[in-house]
C-alpha cells in the first residue's frame, strides 16, 4: 500500500510546484512510490476528495505559499487534519517569503494600489474585489484577505521545513526521501544546513581577514568580480545571515545572496541579524561617514527582510501609521 502525499499552494508563485517537476527523472520514481491524492496544479482531485480521507491518512502534505487569505488558513487546517506530517515547502510557507513584504502595507492600501492607483491600471469605474458580489443572479464569494501575511506555522503546527525560493532539486529529493522512508529528524527541523551560507561558499577564501567597507554598491553601478567575496567588493550579500544548503546557486551565477533560505539555526530574526553585521562592516568611526555609507543602501528593510518579514520580530508596519 503506497503512502499518500499531497501538495498544495497558498499564496505562492508556482515556483515550488516547479521544484517538484525539477526532480526530472526522479519524479517518475517518486510517483511510483507514493499516491498523490491532492495536488491542484497537476491533478484533478478536489476539496471533496480531500475531505473524504480519514484524519491522518495522508503521510505528508507539502504546503507552499504564505497565508494571505482566510481560505489559505482554512485549507492549511484541513490538510493538517488529514496529514500525519506537514512539511513547509519553500520560503513563503516558512517565513512568509516575498509575499510577506505586503506587511509593509494595510490591506486597504494594497487593494487601492492594485486596482486603482497603479500607473498601468485602467479602472475608471473603480471596481475592486469584494467578499460578496452578485453576477448574473448568482452570489459569488471571495475569501477575505487576512490583515497581515503569516507563515504557515502561524496557522497550523508544522513538522518540517524545506527552505528556499524555491528549494533546490537536491533538497527536495532529500526531503521526499526522508519522508517516504520514515527517517525524519527531530520535529521542527529545517531540512538543509544548520550554519550560514558563508561557511560553505565557494568564495570564502577570498574574504580578507579584516573586511571593511567605505560604502555599499548596488549591482547596477559596479562591475562584479566573479571570484571575490561580494562583501569584499562592497556589495551587500546576506550569506552571513542566511542558512546554507543551496550549493551557492546564486553566487555561482555571480549574484549575491538575498537570503531566501531564511536564518541559520539559532537566529529568529534574519533581518535584524543582517542590520547588525552589515552595519558593523562600515570601516569609518566618523558619524558623517557612517551616515553616508548607510545612505548608499536605499531600502534596507526591503532588502534585509525580503523573504522573512512575516516571521520577523516586528512583522510589519506599526498599525495606524500614515506615511504620506
Amino acid at each position: 500500500m503506497k503512502p499518500k502525499m499531497a501538495f498544495y499552494w497558498c499564496s505562492g508563485c508556482g515556483g515550488c510546484e516547479e521544484s517538484i517537476l525539477d526532480l526530472a527523472g526522479s519524479l517518475a520514481d517518486l510517483l511510483a512510490r507514493v499516491d498523490v491524492v491532492f495536488w491542484p496544479v497537476a491533478f484533478d482531485y478536489d476539496y471533496a476528495d480531500l475531505e473524504r480521507l480519514a484524519d491522518g491518512e495522508i503521510l505528508a502534505s507539502f504546503i507552499n505559499g504564505a497565508i494571505r487569505t482566510e481560505d489559505h488558513a482554512e485549507k492549511a487546517r484541513l490538510l493538517r487534519r488529514k496529514s500525519r506530517y506537514v512539511v513547509s515547502h519553500g520560503a513563503c510557507a516558512q517565513t512568509g517569503g516575498v509575499v510577506g513584504l505586503g506587511n509593509f502595507f494595510t490591506t486597504e492600501e494594497i487593494v487601492a494600489r492594485l486596482y486603482r492607483e497603479s500607473p498601468t491600471v485602467a479602472n475608471p469605474a473603480g471596481i475592486v474585489p469584494r467578499e460578496t458580489s452578485i453576477d448574473g443572479g448568482h452570489e459569488l464569494h471571495l475569501p477575505p484577505l487576512c490583515p497581515s501575511v503569516k507563515p504557515l506555522n502561524g496557522v497550523i503546527d508544522v513538522d518540517y521545513y524545506v527552505p528556499g525560493c524555491p528549494p533546490t532539486p537536491e533538497l527536495m529529493q532529500a526531503a521526499l526521501t526522508l519522508v517516504i522512508e520514515g527517517m525524519l529528524p527531530a520535529k521542527g527541523s529545517v531540512l538543509a544546513e544548520k550554519r550560514s551560507l558563508c561557511d560553505t561558499c565557494a568564495r570564502r577564501d577570498s574574504k580578507p581577514e579584516k573586511l571593511t567597507v567605505a560604502r555599499f554598491r548596488r549591482l547596477t553601478d559596479t562591475a562584479i568580480d566573479p571570484a571575490t567575496c561580494f562583501l569584499a567588493q562592497e556589495i551587500i550579500c546576506l550569506g552571513p545571515a542566511t542558512r546554507g544548503g543551496c550549493r551557492d546557486r546564486c553566487i555561482g551565477a555571480n549574484m549575491p545572496c538575498r537570503g531566501c533560505f531564511g536564518p541559520p539555526d539559532g537566529v529568529t530574526d534574519q533581518g535584524a541579524r543582517a542590520i547588525s553585521f552589515i552595519a558593523s562592516l562600515i570601516g569609518s568611526n566618523d558619524p558623517a561617514e557612517i551616515a553616508h555609507a548607510i545612505g548608499t543602501i536605499p531600502d534596507p528593510a526591503g532588502l534585509f527582510y525580503r523573504y522573512t518579514l512575516a516571521a520577523s520580530t516586528l512583522r510589519g508596519r506599526a498599525q495606524g501609521r500614515t506615511d504620506g
Binding site: L101, N103, F104, P147, S148, T268, D269, G271, A272, R273, I275, S276, I278, A279, S280, I282, N285, P287, I290, A291, I294, I297, D299, P300, A301, G302, F304, S312, T313, L314, R315, G316, R317, A318, Q319, G320, R321, T322, D323, G324
Partner: protein, 149 residues
Amino acid sequence: MREKEKAKKTPKAVDGFEPRIICFLCNWCSYSAADAAGRAQKAYPANVSVIKVMCSGRVDPQFIMKAFHDGADGVMVLGCHPGDCHYKKGNYQTQKRVLLLKKVLGQFGIEQERMELDWVSATEGDRFVETVTRMVERVRQLGPLERRA
C-alpha cells in the same frame, strides 16, 4: 519597494499616557552613571526600565525590535563616550548598528525619535538624569506606539 515619503510627525500626547522606555546601560559607564544618580538621590522618571549590558556594543538590533514589539514606546542605548569604550571599539559598532537600525525602524513606521543612542560616562550622573528625562518627555509627546497584532 516604492519610495516612501517622510513619516508625518504629528505630536499626539494622549491624556494619562505614561511612556514605557527600555534603557540599555553599559556596565562601565552609563550604568555607573545611573548608580551615581541613585546614590546622590537624584530623581528621574519611573518610566525607564534599565537593562545592564557589559558594553553598548552587545545591544543587538533584535533586542531593540523585541522591546518595541513587547510594548516599549521608546528605547535608549547609553554607552561610553567615543574613544572611552572599555572594550576599545564596542561603542563605535553600536553607533553604526543604531544608525542603520533607525533607518529600518522608520520603514517599519516607528519614528526615529523613539530610539536614542547617547554617551554618558561614569561620573555623569546628572547627564544621565537629563538624558532619560528628555527622552521620556519626547516620547510622551509622540504618544503610545500602536502595534499591529
